[in-house]
Assembly symmetry: C2
Homo-oligomer: 329 residues x 2
């Protein structure tokens, strides 16, 4: 109920997911039941194909996460997350207030054993392939242990969900040399090096869009800034192309002709392709989507939740972080 286009996009996306994966998906819609039920029917959905769980309140994008969770215990977000925690659902998906979903996942589901700090990553499209950058903004002040755990969780997620055996893991840094970086990063480098991960050392800012490693580890301060900087690039390009077009009629014509091609070329930048990212390190499956997720984005989030729920991700995370071979003296 709390996404930018809720519940319309949510219903349309859910409908598409049910149609695409009815064999492996038993969908539950949490929200204002009469509204959700009416919309589901109106869009052609079969009410016997889903379950409805009523939630009387909504956490909005403007709400402060922690306060909202305390004050709005009957919000679709809190009700849905509890429903998952109680075992009535195998996963929870939301395009609502990111901070609130994260807080709810951490507070209601609790942490996987061995995890100090749950994290969220983000997939960044690259020249070839993509990389998973984490933390993407959850934990701004990190110790080396946290960065190490992000590497472990990211590696397991990449292996289980993207399906690549022994993905490469790198530390985002200001140089490739091992003695570069802040004190925290230098310490994390040692821990990652001593781990059983496929650690390839440091990568620099310029290596992200080249996906020089599958998993790129950083603190949430750097991750958030890089992510948001990247998201602002298309708008910058548009502005510069418009300015060039205003300076020259010939350029205007050429740019106009190439507009469709450019849009297709940059289609990889569409955040809806991925359909959300999981909160890694919580005892459950919580997928967070972009607030403005399209119906396709919502559908992809739901299908991603199915995959994650079936992957045994948390079992692998707990095993990796409890194993003595991955820790450093």
């Amino acid at each position: 109920m709390g996404g930018d286009h809720a519940p319309g996009h949510e219903i349309d996306g859910a409908l598409a997911a049910v149609r695409e994966a009815s064999d492996r998906l038993d969908l539950i819609l949490v929200g204002d039941e009469s509204k959700v039920r009416a919309l589901w029917t109106q869009r052609g959905g079969d009410t016997s194909a889903v379950r409805f769980v009523h939630a009387a309140q909504v956490i909005t994008m403007e709400d402060k996460p922690t306060a909202a969770l305390k004050d709005k215990r009957e919000s679709s977000l809190a009700v849905g997350m509890r429903y998952h925690q109680e075992g009535h659902a195998d996963a929870f998906v939301s395009a609502g207030n990111t901070g609130a979903v994260l807080s709810a996942a951490t507070l209601i589901l609790g942490r996987v054993k061995g995890v100090s700090r749950p994290t969220i990553g983000t997939f960044i499209p690259a020249e070839h392939g993509e990389c998973l950058l984490l933390d993407a903004g959850t934990n701004v002040d990190c110790r080396a242990q946290h960065l190490y755990e992000f590497g472990v969780m990211g590696s397991i997620y990449f292996e289980r969900i993207v399906g690549k055996q022994r993905p490469t893991v790198a530390l985002l840094n200001v140089g490739e040399e091992r003695l570069k970086g802040t004190e925290v990063v230098l310490e994390a480098h040692k821990m990652l090096e001593a781990s059983s991960l496929q650690f390839v050392g440091n990568v620099e800012g310029r290596d992200i869009l080249k996906a020089k490693a599958d998993v790129v580890v950083c603190d949430g301060f750097v991750g958030n800034i890089v992510l948001k900087f990247g998201e602002s690039v298309p708008s910058f390009l548009k502005a510069k192309l418009r300015q060039a077009a205003d300076r020259s009629l010939l350029d205007k014509v050429a740019i106009g002709l190439a507009r469709g091609a450019m849009r297709r070329a940059l289609g990889v930048l569409d955040p809806n392709l991925h359909g959300g990212v999981p909160v890694l390190g919580v005892n459950g499956v919580a997928i967070i989507g972009h607030g403005s997720a399209s119906p396709v984005g919502i559908k992809n989030m739901v299908l991603r939740a199915v995959e994650v729920a079936q992957s045994g991700l948390n079992r692998h995370i707990a095993a990796a972080l409890e194993a003595p071979s991955t820790s450093v003296a």
Copy 2:
């Protein structure tokens, strides 16, 4: 002598600078004198229009900065910086090893009174205008006091050199709210707020390419990563356009027709436009250029050095950082 295209680009750029600004520029060329003198003459330069200072050694891009300065005391970099420090020149310009120029500036020139850490900024082109991001990679572990000083130095540089009265200063952060960020950033926020700067609060990663503030302050870890990420965007775009062209003949034709327009649109990304950035906070004028600076880039560095030398920048920095009104209890 240590730039990627030295001394060819250096000579060509110096020649252009002398021709453009002979009234306010008295140029000194430091390096292998016979080589430099021969090249200067060969390119049509008048040997009476410049002075030559011999330096027998060269610090290369591969040299470790501090070790190189100790071992190569007769390098063009060390000789030139000392020549400046001794008062025989008003500024020093180099497109050589960035770390070595920075170390030489700090060690040979010393710090301006009140400055804890010299810094280097970088101009980032924006949708409209540009912003000065600093620190750009010099100081990876920063305390709040350092960030505060970067704000002061950046503001004075922007005011004196770009020529804008009371430029806006912002803190790069993960959210606009004043309580966002790491402990260091929260503390720096208080100091900047209490200062006499035109502080506009936090900006996010997405605000850099919009130049939401003239001066954007961050530690060198974040600054370096954002800067290098940004530098990798053109290559990413090229790769994606090439991939689109390979998928569709029509797109290939359209992209081919628009190539020139796109190049002109993105011309603002050319690092040679700015011709280097100064080391802020050292007792002198040291301008560092891109290792691969074109002759135009070199020329712009030299002209920038003239401007900075005439601006009284360091006097203003010392005054601002000594003044009690700019410090916080």
